[in-house]
Symmetry: C2
Subunit: 199 residues, 2 copies
């Protein structure tokens, strides 16, 4: 059994239509994909890996007037079957279960030549179990399209703090009209990012 961490934040993005930047050098995902794992055999070794499933083979473009994604042709040839092994692999079940497993080093790239930490598919014949979290679905972009996604990223990613025009700590004391939509998405009870989990 696997439980997605930061589910509330993922849901918030998902409601707007999550976008993830891809670059040639590789860009981290935000929110970070991290999970709690239950029910492994504590003494057995496990490999943990992550890959990405194309939802369809279409290409989309964002229509700003209607704030929606429109089909705009066929997708690029599918990404070669690459998987990202969690760097702690292999490890005992007990190790995986005793703390949150984070894929924060994982980077998305549109450079087909660069592996970026991805390995070619192996172990395909072995027993494995797959978990899909629909709320982590995203559209890969080279620049953000939906401005509300940009604002939610700025509001919730600590590394983008430089672009905030309103300190969440100061709200509602410093309440200004322009901050309201961001703040409503940044309710502290739903977003524990500011105090990241140990290790």
């Amino acid at each position: 059994n696997v439980q997605l961490e930061m589910k509330a934040l993922w849901d918030e993005f998902n409601m707007l239509g999550t976008e993830m930047i891809v670059t040639k050098a590789g860009r981290r995902m935000f929110p970070t994909f991290q999970v709690k794992i239950f029910g492994m055999d504590p003494m057995s070794d496990y490999m943990l890996l992550m890959d990405f499933l194309p939802v369809d083979d279409k290409r989309y473009r964002y229509a700003f007037h209607s704030s929606s994604w429109l089909v705009a042709g066929k997708a690029d040839p599918a990404t070669p079957g690459r998987v990202h092994y969690h760097p702690d692999s292999p490890a005992k079940g007990a190790q995986w279960m005793k703390q949150i497993v984070s894929f924060d080093k994982l980077k998305l790239t549109n450079n087909l030549l660069d592996d970026n930490g991805h390995d070619s598919e192996k172990y395909a014949e072995e027993n494995y179990k797959t978990f899909v979290f629909e709320e982590t679905r995203f559209t890969a972009v080279t620049a953000y399209q939906n401005h509300r996604i940009t604002q939610l990223k700025i509001a919730s990613n600590p590394f983008a703090k430089g672009f905030r025009d309103c300190d969440p700590e100061d709200w509602p004391r410093n309440h200004r009209p322009g901050c309201l939509p961001i703040m409503s998405a940044f309710a502290r009870t739903r977003n524990p990012m500011s105090s990241p989990p140990p290790q």
Copy 2:
């Protein structure tokens, strides 16, 4: 077979009498202990670990007038048998050998209550091979005693760049008397730190 990396730098420190700061929170070693490994079985799994051997059970204090260490009593009770497993352990021989193995995350502490990434001794009964590098011998201190050690740390550790009063790149162009001894210790051919090995 194991080969110490940055041996020239280690030798330079060792000639002066290397000192390493220990703190309650833990302090990295500098130079970093890193090695190249040869002759493992590529397919076998290996644990790699590091520990510290007290050279004697004496306590020392530094005599500034003679620039030497004088015996000043008996050592504290020996550190409990703690070892530091390399975080990549276990891994195949091929993996260990294909790049430099670095213990850069290792931290020294005088806090007996804090493990600081150290594990209690295990595998004592299993087959293992030990390598000692005499040139990495050091004196644990809470504050640097030998000023020449301080200057060599400042000259060679990138994180201490803020304390340099002379940019190695500008020498001998900007040659000033006060910089000469530091620069002679920082010959670029003997200190590749400025361009760290990939990954």
